[in-house]
């Protein structure tokens, strides 16, 4: 049986593949999206995903701006969100504070760090 669903939004196919490989081996169901519109399909699904990982620098809408929008929507405001970005840690920390995200992870990341963060935030069924 598939584990909890995790959505990852990033415009880099490389990142999507690496995250998918890491998390699916650990038993999570991973949904990848390379743009915000694709991601909405998964974020607004019922039941909602257990966690959403957002890249920050994106072509159409930056991740932090997208999160602000999602936080105002009833359907999505309670989903755990984290940033995954190659911006420096202090900047990401500021963004977390500003948007109410639940955490962040810097690129490049160690598989173990990602798994630890996910485990912390995903409420297992």
């Amino acid at each position: 049986m598939a584990g909890p669903t995790i959505v990852i939004l990033d415009d880099s196919e490389l990142v999507l593949e690496m995250v998918r490989d890491c998390l699916s081996h650990a038993g999570y169901e991973v949904k990848t999206a390379s743009n915000g519109i694709e991601a909405n399909k998964f974020i607004y699904a019922t039941p909602p995903p257990a966690l959403v990982i957002l890249d920050v620098m994106m072509p159409l809408l930056d991740g932090d701006k997208k999160l602000s929008i999602l936080k105002t929507d009833e359907r999505t405001r309670n989903i755990p969100f984290v940033f995954l970005s190659s911006k420096p840690a202090q900047e990401l920390q500021k963004l977390v504070g500003a948007t109410g995200a639940d955490g962040y992870l810097c690129k490049p990341f160690e598989d173990q760090d990602l798994l630890d963060l996910v485990r912390k935030l995903v409420k297992s069924k």
């Binding site: 593949e17 690496m18 994106m58 970005s85």
Partner: protein, 696 residues
């Protein structure tokens, strides 16, 4: 992180895309330094390369792209301006990344040391070329072979094979459906459920057919690429050449989405680069000269491409000094390319074509590779090689324009020309297993099969019957008949024809999209002698053979005189298609290109029916019909209009002018067409109310 080859492959693809975008954008930035959207895009590109490189521990690439990101941030915040010097630095960074990516592509794992390079870059001084060269660990890429394609050919081949197999599968399904239909129709099998099922399967097969047609088109289009794949790199080339010569130039590309055959683009690329360097080197004046003559200091080079039917027209224009006809003339005389008398016969515009002759050059100084001659002859050669044509339009003092006319595709097919039923057809050589002559007197056909040495028993059919002819042109007492053995996978079909001709290399011209996919026809082509001939779709021939026609012995020639029909259309493909369909059914057919020609033909022969297009030059279809109706001999002539115009108003107009039947090309159905023709020939006065009512 381990360098998983899958990840490296993705990285290489993404890095190349980001790099191309960066280079293009940085050059554009020089011209538009305050473009915020461009800035954001550039930052994102650099950031992405940095992120991806770090994920794979490709530190040197990460470091250089990080530096680029920092500089771009300073430009964005206004701390530094996007000066030419800064742009040079940024382009150097791109080149460094490009070299390192090339190393990876060549399979070299070692990462070069970029410390020295970064030191220069951080000090904002342009690193010496040597430092950059040191990064190159892979051999210099060899110029691509002229007939190479970027997509592995194996992939395209495999696709086409799958497509062929899908067709065979579809045929099998069609057979099953037929059986089912028979059962459903028989009184014993006639239950509601079965009937319903049979109808559903019919629908499914139609859908499948549609999908297969689309796949076919997509596979064909794999060979097409937009001009931009070639012109995107030109901005950089132009900048470099201009800088070397102390000139300023900007590139303007129009129609970069215009699609051409891959192979063609590959072959034209060096010619276009040549024209580019030529325009800068010889066409453009220095900024000082330009300002003195009232021009802006920077020159503009415009490349524009558009499609005109089966040809692509690429124009290459600069706003420089243009060519000097007098100088060209003098040089041509000096080089002995012209004699004084032949020179006198050529005017200033014509004399310019001398520049296309080998060995011609008007450059006063031979400096480096750019300075020597122009090799316009090389450009001309490249263009004629792809069966195109180059013309020069000169405006002394104002600029010069080169116009390249090239066929859109270099796709040629080998095909065998055969005669059947009084018409000629081309059969693609790839589908021919063998060509033989058989002795008809020894042939016995009970089961629609023929015994061939080497191949055993194969189904046999008359090609003209397969193509739908109902009457056989009398074969008389011919004892030996040529036979083309077709192959499809491991299926064989023997086609009897009337005559065999040469195997030709032909350019496949696809039928205009207005004529939907017509069963049995793959496309058309124009023979060297000017005749238009259809190329047969052999897969459909197999289908046709399965469904009905087998060999039948020649019947005595029909006693009823054949009807004579005139087909009028300015489109060669429409004309030959309609004519072919009609003559395959035993009608005598003449053709005309427009209303005027049609009337001439009416003056020479008697026709029983007219098939005409509407939109034609000189005299269109409506005028033709009206003229004919006024004349006594054609007042009651049955007329069928076949046009691409589909509105009710167009239809009504045609009917008011005097046509009896109006068919729309986009919905053309061969059987419906023939039914109308047949009906009208029997009842010339009948108007197809039913058809009109359905359409409106």
């Amino acid at each position: 992180m381990a360098k998983n080859p899958k990840y490296v492959a993705i990285f290489l693809k993404e890095a190349s895309e980001h790099l191309a975008s960066l280079i293009k954008g940085i050059i554009a930035l020089e011209a538009a330094p305050s473009d915020a959207a461009l800035m954001h895009e550039l930052l994102r590109n650099a950031h992405s390369i940095k992120g991806a490189a770090r994920m794979l521990a490709l530190d040197p690439i990460g470091a250089v792209s990080h530096w680029m990101e920092d500089i771009l941030k300073e430009v964005e915040s206004g701390e530094v301006g996007a000066t030419s010097a800064l742009v040079d630095l940024l382009l150097c960074g791109c080149d460094a990344i490009k070299l390192m990516v090339a190393n990876l592509e060549a399979g070299i794992d070692t990462l070069p040391d970029v410390a020295a390079l970064l030191k220069c870059l951080s000090k904002r001084s342009l690193p010496p070329a040597k430092l950059l060269e040191n990064l190159r660990l892979s051999p210099k890429p060899v110029a691509k072979a002229v007939d190479a394609v970027n997509v592995p050919v194996a992939t395209i081949d495999a696709l086409q094979e799958r497509q062929g197999e899908l067709f065979i599968s579809k045929q099998k399904l069609e057979k099953r459906l037929k059986t089912l239909q028979q059962i459903a129709r028989s009184s014993a099998g006639r239950t509601d459920g079965l009937w319903e099922l049979q109808l559903q399967l019919e629908d499914d097969l139609l859908e499948l057919d549609q999908l297969l047609t689309e796949i076919n088109e997509q596979v064909m289009s794999l060979r097409l690429l937009p001009l931009r794949t070639v012109s995107d790199s030109f901005a950089r080339v132009l900048r470099d050449v201009a800088r070397t010569q102390g000139k300023q130039a900007v590139l303007n590309v129009i129609g970069e989405d215009c699609e051409l055959d891959r192979v063609l683009l590959d072959q034209l690329r060096p010619a276009l680069v040549h024209l580019l360097t030529n325009a800068v080197t010889h066409g453009l004046e220095s900024p000082k000269e330009r300002t003195a003559s009232g021009k802006p200091p920077g020159g503009t080079i415009t490349i524009s491409a558009r499609l005109a039917g089966d040809t692509a027209v690429i124009t290459f224009e600069d706003d420089g000094r243009g060519m000097d006809p007098a100088a060209v003339r003098d040089k041509a005389l000096e080089l002995g390319l012209l004699t004084p008398s032949s020179s006198a016969a050529l005017d200033d515009a014509e004399i310019l074509s001398c520049t296309l002759l080998p060995g011609f050059s008007t450059s006063a100084t031979v400096t480096d590779a750019f300075g020597r001659g122009v090799g316009l002859d090389a450009v001309n050669e490249a263009v004629t090689k792809v069966k195109g044509h180059l013309a020069i339009e000169n405006d002394p003092g104002k600029g010069c324009r080169f116009v390249l006319n090239v066929p859109r595709t270099v796709l040629t097919t080998k095909a065998l020309l055969v005669g059947a039923g009084g018409e000629k057809y081309l059969i693609p050589s790839g589908a021919i297993a063998s060509v033989l002559t058989v002795d008809m007197s020894a042939f016995r056909s009970d089961h629609g099969e023929i015994e061939l040495p080497e191949f055993g028993s194969v189904p046999v059919a008359n090609l003209d019957l397969l193509l739908g002819s109902r009457s056989t042109v009398g074969t008389g007492s011919r004892h030996k008949k040529p036979l083309v053995l077709l192959k499809r996978g491991d299926k064989r079909l023997a086609c009897l024809v009337d005559s065999l001709h040469d195997t030709l290399e032909v350019v496949v011209k696809r039928l205009s999209p207005q004529l939907k996919k017509v069963f049995l026809v793959k496309g058309g082509t124009i023979l060297p002698n000017g005749d238009a001939v259809l190329i047969l779709n052999t897969a459909d021939l197999f289908s046709a053979a399965d469904q009905s026609c087998y060999y039948t012995p020649p019947r005595p020639a029909a006693s009823q005189p054949s009807h004579r029909i005139l087909v009028v259309d300015d489109s060669i493909s429409s004309r030959s298609l309609l004519a072919s369909i009609l003559s395959a059914h035993g009608y005598l057919v003449d053709v005309a290109e427009n209303g005027v020609e049609a009337l001439e033909k009416f003056g020479q022969n008697e026709y029983h029916l007219l098939v005409s297009d509407i939109e034609m030059p000189l005299m269109n279809g409506l005028e033709l019909v009206r003229t004919l109706r006024k004349r006594l001999f054609s007042a009651r002539l049955p007329i069928v209009m076949v046009s691409s115009l589909r509105s009710a108003a167009d239809r009504q107009q045609a009917v008011n002018s005097g046509a009896q039947v109006y068919l729309v090309k986009g919905e053309f159905d061969q059987d419906v067409f023939l039914n109308h023709v047949q009906e009208l020939l029997i009842h010339p006065q009948k108007r197809s109310h039913l058809w009109q009512a359905r359409q409106l």
